[in-house]
């Protein structure tokens, strides 16, 4: 009954909250403060997202040893906020550091889907980029980008830990450009390769 009779305002808390929300929204839009705040918040959370890239603790083959070396005293990845978490739920970057065999293909896709959305993928080493020395093998996929969208490629077999840290640097630059756009939305832009510039 309340629906038809327009001027009978059924007072409940949800309606009140929405009404107050709309009023403040209009006011802020009018005085451009909303845009100001969104720029500030956008820059702040983008900075936060860039500065703490939690990587999944996934070691496939030799590049995993170089990934571990990148976290140790000589090439300290922690200087740039790169920590290795063991659960996909808490990591932003899936660092694929070895050949993807047929047996592991569906599992790495599952890992990729278990990661919360603003997520990025780095293909480290020849095996992850194009199958590497095993491109003729009957059991190895030709590169991880046949199954997962990849943001940064780090060539090398294995790439030196400095190249991995440079890869994280390029990823930071990509994050500042695309912000927290969902991983599916990044088709078609030029692949970023470490050591290219």
């Amino acid at each position: 009954m309340a629906g038809q009779d327009e001027n009978y305002a059924a007072f409940n808390s949800r309606a009140l909250v929405e009404m107050v929300g709309d009023v403040t929204d209009e006011a802020l839009k009018a005085t451009k403060i909303k845009q100001f705040l969104s720029v500030l918040a956008g820059r702040y959370f983008n900075w936060a997202g860039r500065k703490s890239l939690f990587t999944l603790h996934l070691g496939i083959k030799c590049c995993a040893i170089e990934m571990a070396a990148a976290a140790t005293p000589r090439f300290d990845g922690d200087r740039f906020g790169v920590l290795f978490r063991s659960s996909p739920r808490q990591s932003d970057v899936l660092l694929v550091n070895g050949p993807i065999s047929k047996k592991f293909a569906d599992k790495i896709v599952r890992l990729w889907e278990q990661m919360p959305e603003p997520k990025y993928c780095i293909a480290m080493g020849e095996c992850a980029i194009s199958g590497g020395p095993y491109f003729q093998s009957y059991n190895i996929l030709e590169g991880v980008d046949t199954v997962i969208p990849v943001d940064v490629y780090i060539p090398g077999c294995p790439p030196r830990p400095e190249a991995l840290i440079d890869g994280f640097g390029l990823l930071r630059e990509k994050i500042i450009r695309i912000g927290a756009a969902p991983s599916s939305g990044r088709k078609g832009d030029k692949p970023i390769i470490v050591g290219e510039d």
């Binding site: 047929k102 047996k103 003729q136 009957y138 590169g143 046949t146």
Partner: protein, 217 residues
């Protein structure tokens, strides 16, 4: 100074093993010979060429009489053009190691030069040749050496040689859902992009990325 098994010790152990095998299997076509490696140190080892039906007897003899307590490697090879009687070949590498359980707080420290008789490490290579055929099969030695268990699983998985009497045979290296008769190390399977002109069209059906059109891989 470091120590090593001298060539004399190795030759003596190999001759003893060859005599005992030939004595036992003299009549049947099991042939045991002493061979020498071709690299710098020319160490001796025993090569036994046997038909598959005698293999269980030879294995028991090696394990109980000669004390080979270590099955290190099982290799299967496919010889499609090897003639009628040499279609498949299974090579077992077995070792004798002077290893025994130790009482608490004690250990045995062998001095290589003073080892004699059954304590001298021995290397045995058993070659079983199988005739041409779709289902090469060799009796399994899983019960004699636990080490042979996963080796035989891998050999069946990759080369396709059946092992009779092997329980719980399953694929270990290839994905479990790979097709039934697919044993990659058989010679009819080519590796991808085997020769130069094959590099462009992909015979094995792996999706080629559109960006690879016309590019030399």
């Amino acid at each position: 100074m470091g120590m090593r098994i001298t060539n004399a010790q190795a030759d003596a152990a190999a001759e003893h093993a060859v005599e005992s095998v030939n004595a036992r299997f003299g009549g049947s076509d099991v042939v045991a010979t002493v061979e020498h490696h071709a690299n710098a140190l020319k160490m001796a080892f025993v090569r036994i060429v046997a038909p598959p039906q005698h293999w269980t007897a030879v294995a028991k003899h090696l394990k109980f009489d000669l004390g080979t307590n270590y099955c290190s490697m099982v290799t299967g090879t496919h010889h499609p053009e090897g003639g009628a009687e040499r279609g498949w070949e299974v090579v077992y590498h077995l070792m004798r190691q002077p290893v025994a359980n130790q009482a608490p707080h004690t250990n045995t420290v062998h001095v290589a030069e003073e080892l004699q008789g059954m304590d001298v490490p021995l290397e045995v290579e058993v070659v079983l040749t199988l005739p041409q055929g779709q289902t090469p099969s060799v009796p399994s030695v899983q019960s004699l050496w636990v080490g042979a268990d996963w080796n035989e699983k891998e050999t069946w998985d990759l080369v396709g040689i059946q092992f009779e009497g092997h329980e719980n045979m399953h694929r270990v290296l290839n994905p479990h859902d790979s097709p039934e008769g697919f044993h990659p190390l058989q010679k009819q399977h080519k590796i991808r992009y085997h020769d130069f002109n094959e590099m462009y069209d992909d015979a094995q059906g792996f999706g080629r990325k559109p960006t690879d059109e016309g590019r030399v891989k």
